[in-house]
């Protein structure tokens, strides 16, 4: 009897070269991230240290901190920063106050059959154009002809008109789904037995909410707040449409980028810094560990 020695079949190229497999998987997204995304950010930072010749309007490519000095010493600009952060914080808090009960209802009260439908309903507004929604709010807020003005006219008061109130309401409306969805996911992940256990140990509803529910959904709240805060911080179109004379950070950037690109770049660095500070602060709470 003869035995034929058969070599075991060889694995494919990817099996023999795991590194090549990794390159194939991540090559395209990584080059996008590094070249396009980080590249443009780097260009932004670089430009912020240049200046523009006052007479010719040409770029002067010499390193200077002039733009940043300008940004941080001009009271008007400091006000714009403070106002923008204030708006972003207010919008985030409003979104949170609205999202928590809605998300709680979706995840823990509504029947299993309704849950996907409710999620779809929350997502539907995201399909509509941002501009359409902003202009819809312009129609709502308009001082004389707006829906709100018409509604409150019989009470002898005028509508809110355009301004900071309009910006906050519109941004809250626009970004609410970005808060509801992560908080909903957070509530869904919360085991029933946690709530049962808290009640079992003598805690009433409010106590359970404070001591058990909030700490456990805190990472979800943080995730949502990163969306609402950073989206509000960088917005300028809403301010243009419903803000009246009120300016946000983005408006200053937009007004300067043609005439003084380096200054606009320096100004644009500020929201980036604020978001980084926010993320660092959030990281300290440990909320990002479980994202």
């Amino acid at each position: 009897m003869t035995t034929v020695e058969l070599a075991p079949p060889k694995g494919g190229f990817g099996y023999r070269h795991p590194r090549a497999r990794l390159v194939a998987l991540l090559g395209a997204p990584m080059s996008w991230l590094i070249v396009i995304y980080l590249g443009s950010l780097a260009a932004l930072f670089l430009t912020a240290f240049w200046t523009v010749d006052g007479f010719t309007g040409a770029l002067v490519r010499t390193f200077t901190l002039e733009n940043f000095v300008d940004v941080f010493t001009t009271p008007a600009y400091l006000w714009v920063m403070a106002r923008t952060v204030g708006i972003a914080v207010t919008v985030t808090i409003l979104c949170l106050l609205l999202a928590v009960p809605v998300a709680y209802f979706m995840a823990r009260v509504a029947s299993k059959r309704w849950q996907p439908l409710l999620v779809a309903m929350i997502l539907t507004p995201l399909w509509a154009s941002y501009l359409v929604k902003a202009y819809a709010w312009r129609a709502m807020l308009s001082p004389q002809t707006g829906v709100i003005a018409w509604f409150v006219a019989p009470l002898g008061i005028g509508g809110p008109g355009f301004g900071i109130f309009g910006i906050i309401v519109t941004l809250t409306y626009l970004w609410l789904p970005y808060m509801i969805l992560p908080v909903y996911a957070g509530f869904s992940r919360l085991p029933d037995s946690m709530l049962d256990a808290s009640a079992d140990l003598g805690a009433k509803g409010w106590r359970t909410f404070r001591s058990v529910v909030v700490p456990l959904i805190f990472p979800a709240i943080v995730a949502g707040s990163i969306f609402t805060f950073s989206l509000s911080l960088g917005d300028y179109i809403t301010a243009q449409i419903v803000g009246g004379k009120v300016q946000m950070l983005g408006n200053v950037v937009q007004q300067n980028y043609v005439t003084n690109l380096p200054f606009a770049a320096a100004f644009a660095v500020i929201p980036v810094l604020i978001v980084l500070i926010y993320l660092a602060a959030v990281r300290r709470t440990g909320a990002l560990d479980n994202l």
């Binding site: 256990a197 079992d200 456990l216």
Partner: protein, 342 residues
């Protein structure tokens, strides 16, 4: 000694849609006893427990704790505590914070709180683990934290929902013994839900066998094991060994379905006659299963059906595989046969 009643259930009923999960159960749990609710999954035993805790509202019937009607009382106002199947420890709190939670909610002063938590953790042999988070503990340790968190409140009744289900066999057997010891030390009434008959037999003072939302039998482990009231109990607790009416008529001489526990049946290897007072029959050995401490025989009966007999491997030859396919005599003391209702 006459024990007073810790929990009294009357006509307790719970429906989920068209399914009657718990069907008009009447039950008195005595003060200080270890009572197990034993049944297969879906039998309604956990629902009974959840209704006692207050997590589920009964559709009908009443629940009394120490003589007070608590049927409509919220869970936080009931003097019972629960050990959950998944332990339900709060992941963001340390072991100490978890154990102190109930005391903090009840505004017990800090010094007493710390002291009681330490005592509870010592009782479950977890002293020194105060500052760990639940994620840093093993399954058995989490289980003990859950126990300490419940016991520290000194409830009238402790409810345990399959608390050992997630542990491996060795740890489970160790925890069975420890749980029983702890229960004896603290003297609190334990209501223990399990689907594991060994667990129920090992730990309980009394066992309630539940099936399809009804109580099949209530009795001590010995009563339930040796005198099962129904065919379901005979089959669920221990190994089902039923003699169908035809065989029973032949061997026992009385009608009905009868049962004998496998370890009560002698297998006569050498063909010696059955002792006086024993019923006997012969059959063909279908399987010989060696399980270490004992050997199990599955014997096919001439009139149909089969019996299992267990022989301790304490003496003689223990390599009995050659008996497969052979005819053997089986006998048992008449005192150990019992009739079961269907």
């Amino acid at each position: 000694m006459v024990n007073s009643v810790a929990i009294s259930l009357r006509g307790l009923t719970r429906r989920f849609g068209d399914v009657v999960a718990v069907d008009a159960i009447d039950l008195d749990v005595l003060d200080g006893e270890f009572l197990s609710l034993l049944g297969p999954s879906g039998s309604g035993k956990t629902t009974v427990l959840r209704m006692i805790a207050g997590f589920e509202r009964p559709d009908a019937g009443t629940i009394e704790l120490a003589g007070t009607d608590v049927t409509m009382t919220a869970p936080y106002a009931r003097d019972v505590n629960t050990v959950f199947q998944d332990y339900a420890l709060f992941p963001h709190m340390t072991v100490a914070e978890n154990v102190q939670y109930g005391l903090r909610v009840k505004k017990v002063a800090k010094g007493e709180r710390v002291e009681r938590a330490r005592a509870a953790l010592t009782a479950v042999r977890l002293a020194g683990y105060e500052d760990r988070k639940p994620a840093q503990l093993s399954g058995g340790q989490r289980q003990r934290v859950a126990l300490a968190r419940a016991l520290v409140n000194r409830p009238k009744v402790l409810l345990l929902d399959e608390p050992l289900g997630a542990l491996d066999l060795k740890l489970r057997e160790q925890m069975q013994v420890e749980l029983k010891e702890i229960q004896r030390e603290v003297g609190i009434t334990f209501v223990f839900v399990t689907h594991d008959q060994d667990e129920a037999l090992t730990m309980s003072d009394r066992i309630v066998v539940i099936n399809e939302g009804r109580i099949e039998q209530l009795g001590t482990p010995t009563e339930v094991y040796e005198h099962p009231a129904t065919a379901f109990v005979a089959g669920f607790v221990g190994i089902s060994n039923l003699l169908d009416p035809v065989t029973a008529e032949q061997v026992i001489g009385r009608p009905g379905t009868w049962s004998v526990r496998p370890e009560k049946i002698h297998v006569h290897l050498s063909g010696e006659p059955a002792p006086a007072g024993h019923h006997h029959l012969s059959g063909t050995v279908r399987e010989v299963i060696y399980v270490g401490m004992s050997t199990r025989f599955v014997v096919d009966l001439p009139a149909g059906g089969s019996l299992m007999a267990v022989r301790q491997n304490s003496e003689g030859s223990t390599d009995l595989g050659h008996l497969r396919g052979q005819c053997v005599n089986l006998s048992w003391d008449q005192r150990y046969e019992y009739q079961v209702s269907n």
